[in-house]
Symmetry: D2
Subunit: 363 residues, 4 copies
């Protein structure tokens, strides 16, 4: 029950700080016999990596992953897979002046209240850098899910500030630095981000993450429901303030006759539920929307306190993303993969199968 672990059977334990020697994770419970090479993991890390465009932090990290254990002759052995990523580019001097201040909307104050001390270098453990081990572990899970169950997971930027990013073509997502599923809005997004950056400000975003090919039967009736586990994983990501499944908040304004997805022999006629009914997957695509708050690090001076309780003005000068949502897509995919993998193993444990595939057209 480590508080730094996620999963009950496919258990990922995360460690590290932004400017410590290394970050990484240990994966326990991976099924044996799956082919796994560091490239399988590295390719996902590279999708998340900073420095890939001028709109994300310019910190340069190769994020090269080393597999320390759990692999023999190219296959998983069923023993813990430890993954190590060395920190290379720790410009601690950037953070010196705020080491004893609580930057507004940052984790500084909470850590200090909780632990009585904190590692201020680069945000310490609160840094978005700690999502890299999550992505690395997620790469293992999604490989297994794809090979064993044919599950695919994808995410895209759905909103940048007040601009809705239209879904035009999923194939575009990996062709631009915004994970936008269209090419036509890229100039508009660039222009918006440039204005935000020049203003020394930051901006929020929304993302959509989907899982296709999930069999019906994953999840549990009470408490450890699949939607609960998904919400746990996604709300646990830095900056996420909202998690919606299927129609999400808009269900409040719906009638039951509209919201209830009818089933026919061709499949569900709609997917208002977003693939989860009664806490259990329905075999319809799992559809989730999350909102990500704007990066709290802004150049505009803000009122706060320091550790002595004195009022100070804080402006953050370090390297930061103007929009943390821009790099969130691979992380969301990883978190969904970890959650589904765990649910699939729980199902296999209790029921000896993966549930049922409802062979319907996807909606």
């Amino acid at each position: 029950m480590s508080t730094s672990s996620i999963g009950k059977l496919f258990v990922v334990t995360n460690f590290g700080e932004s400017h410590g020697p290394a970050i990484g994770c240990v994966i326990d419970g991976c099924p044996p016999g799956m082919e796994l090479a560091s490239e399988d993991i590295q390719k996902e890390l590279d999708r998340r990596r900073p420095g890939s465009s001028r709109f994300v932090t310019q910190r340069k990290e190769s994020d090269a992953v080393e597999i320390l254990s759990g692999i023999y002759e190219g296959k998983t052995t069923g023993t813990p897979i430890a993954l190590l990523i060395r920190n290379e580019n720790q410009r601690s001097r950037d953070y010196g002046e705020v080491a004893h201040q609580f930057r507004p909307a940052h984790a500084d104050w909470g850590y200090w209240a909780k632990f009585g001390l904190r590692d201020p270098r680069g945000g310490g453990r609160a840094s978005a850098r700690l999502t890299a081990p999550t992505v690395a572990a997620g790469a293992v899970a999604r490989k297994w899910l794809a090979e064993e169950l044919g599950i695919s997971i994808r995410a895209r930027l759905a909103r940048l500030g007040s601009v809705e990013v239209r879904l035009e073509d999923w194939a575009e997502v990996d062709r631009n630095p915004f994970f936008a599923a269209n090419a036509s809005q890229i100039p508009e997004l660039e222009s918006l981000l440039e204005s935000v950056r020049k203003a020394g400000d930051s901006i929020g975003a929304e993302l959509v993450v989907e899982a296709h090919g999930v069999p019906a039967g994953l999840g549990n009736p009470v408490y450890h429901r699949l939607d609960a586990a998904l919400a746990y994983a996604l709300m646990g990501l830095n900056a996420v303030k909202s998690v919606e499944i299927g129609d999400g908040a808009s269900v409040a304004a719906q009638r039951g006759s509209e919201n209830g997805d009818e089933m026919t022999q061709e499949g569900f006629l709609t997917n208002h539920a977003g693939g989860v009914l009664g806490g259990i997957s329905s075999s319809a695509p799992i559809l989730i929307r999350v909102a990500v708050k704007p990066t709290p690090s802004v150049l505009i001076p803000r009122k706060s306190l320091n550790e002595q309780g004195e009022e100070v003005l804080v402006s953050t000068k370090g390297r930061h993303d103007p929009c943390v949502g821009l790099r969130a897509a691979p992380i969301l995919e990883a978190l969904v993969a970890l959650t589904l993998m765990d649910a699939a193993l729980l199902q296999r444990a209790q029921c000896g199968n993966y549930g049922l595939v409802f062979d319907a057209q996807e909606i």
Copy 2:
């Protein structure tokens, strides 16, 4: 790691089905020495109980709780507290005709896909009735939180269908069957519900739940963050499709200079964050909004399948709430109480304290 349990240290294990002999829960890890009588629990159960107005299911249940263990001479002993609620009013005949059909938007299909069989009587374990043990356990948690830490928790209906329910006076919440924090809109809500009921339809809702007096320091940096644990608890409640912390989904459209809550010696100037920063409580009020889908049980016939895969038309004739959101307030409060209690004990375990109280005016 029971999938029917919630909490790591204050662990509640839920059991029962709607029309089985009984429902209940076992609470492990309760601090010893707290005065606890069945009335403390009963009063919360009575707030949740069906049959209290014509707009909720007319099933009559006294929901009388019996404490089976863990209390001696009126005090908690530190050993498991088992709570038992007998089912009294099981009109199984109501459900006979849909026993082998999958009611749209219900848990029927998922349970069948998962387990290969299901208890169809009254929805079995998927019934909202299973929230009663959660409310009972929550009553224990909120008593401890109030006495030990001065924490108070409250919830209210914030939207019914397209009608926003205004916050006028929290004291009104317990004076009407809608948990609405105003008296003036009650006729409007009654009228809306009546029309929904007459149409044989149902309607969604939004609720707000808040916790006040939470010290700064509860929660954890990565994965087991306080917002993650809250989202897990609340998204795990029947019919909830959206969980938002603080400004929730609207952060997507905000700038960092607007979203970041400034701190002064008088406290936080705003509370966009909803009381959680970096996964850890900030001492500002915890503010959460959830959306609840309309009850899937409607009289209007809907297309579905039966267990043989044949297409059928389903309309639900049993006793049902036209809006499950109407009775959700006490349940949301209970789930927040359970989550905060667990976080407080985790904090006491690791750090020997409850964090810091930031003695500011509430926002």
Copy 3:
């Protein structure tokens, strides 16, 4: 991770006190579709029940179990199985005089030190009565193990005080109140117990528990080894002070050339290991020996303290077993069943199978 639960996937949560309203447990994670009736559980409870001979406590309890949930039409549904046993015969007056004293070798002092208060009625939660829910849950596990994997589990008395109880015929175990696997020593055991009882004293015992038909592959390499899990379960039973696997303590005097069990195509030639190698089952029979201390409740006055720290003389007048080991056999079987069931589900989760059966003659 309730501290009153055992198991990671087949999770049993125990509740109750000797003289409270009821005792029982909740089983989470049981595979669905298994036929289960209360008689399946009752027959194991009856084997454990007090009052079956003059050598065990004369407390009369029917120990009638009620299944509260998790069964529909005679089959497990995969949802929590709650089992309830009402306490009937609580002669609390027997214990009044020691309510504020710490009986030597009892749990009294520890509970008081831990919780700051305790339920003294009949030993409260420290009573051997709390093993009944364990036996009940174990009955479910052993049924599944027998049907799914052909595993059988049996236990016998192996020593009573200084008398070694010879293994002559396993069939005798259920024909005498001592769980002795021979008929010839019964008069000797009766005579010994009678002398102990007349002296107002009590006596220790040793028991052997075995599991046959366990496939190779259950358990884990580091920490959660099968032998570790077995030791956890058995050392967690009241009065047990020693757990030995296979040759146990006598391995200290062995050479490697003697201790190592050779394998041939006909099977293992010996079973010094007791069926566990490297933390994982080997498919040879699992052999365990436990030692049980004499009941601490004796008529002979003993020095102790009361809650005020004053020295007192304590002699226990209530109804007690002169040898708790006499009724331990069904409990040990249950604990082994719970452990193996959990290991089998963990194996199925990670590897999709139950390991390998090494089709050898049993040793």
Copy 4:
């Protein structure tokens, strides 16, 4: 609930294989603010390290530990402490010939049955080398236990084969390579080991481990008892086949009037219980005895099977300890430290204190 983790609150997750790139662990839940340097950990690792005498494996490993996270300015931050030990001296060629055979009494067969494949290099994950991360984590726990609670833990060799190793002076333990608490028997032990080594054989051992200064109140009533948790930890150590608390197996032959430890204002008069009553620490010293089987790696040819099921003769030529018990003392100490630390944090969580110290003379 990783199966490679130990502890509920002070959670240690172990990873690595004997001949992989590295071994190590992640510690979650460490209290913040404790001074911790790598030397604190290294000194315990050095006590366990191979190559320190001619009677232990001649594999040369510096076992240099690197702290990867969780420390800032010399203090624990409360975030996960990741510890890394690189493998340096992997002579994989030693093991090539047994790569597809099941060495008798080794973990080979079980791993193969479980996972369907195995890493045969140096025993892979079954190697005693994997105890190094346990010792490293234990060093953190024992530092905290000593500083916060004044608890001290020590272990010694109590038997080598048929030779009982007398307790004469605890101070001798760190002055000889056998962890023997006397100087006079060293020549005898050397001579015995030399004869075993020359015979190409190995030999078993017994060790005693003790904890002093443990307050009364650690542990739990049912299942997660302190003795259960200790047995879990110690039986989970490679080669351990027996765990006894206090008088252990000899309680079987005792009477209650003898076994029950009397309490006076000067303390317990005896300590038959070994410091645990009713699953909870009594404040008397915790006394545990374990038996360790002889190393299965012997030069004497032994019958076994290979992966094809063919009968083969196996003799192990690699570098091995003739007695794994010789280096077990620091590991046992570490495991007891981890268990007590976890119990202390659980107690602090539930009860807000560490129980009571019974200020008596040690027995």
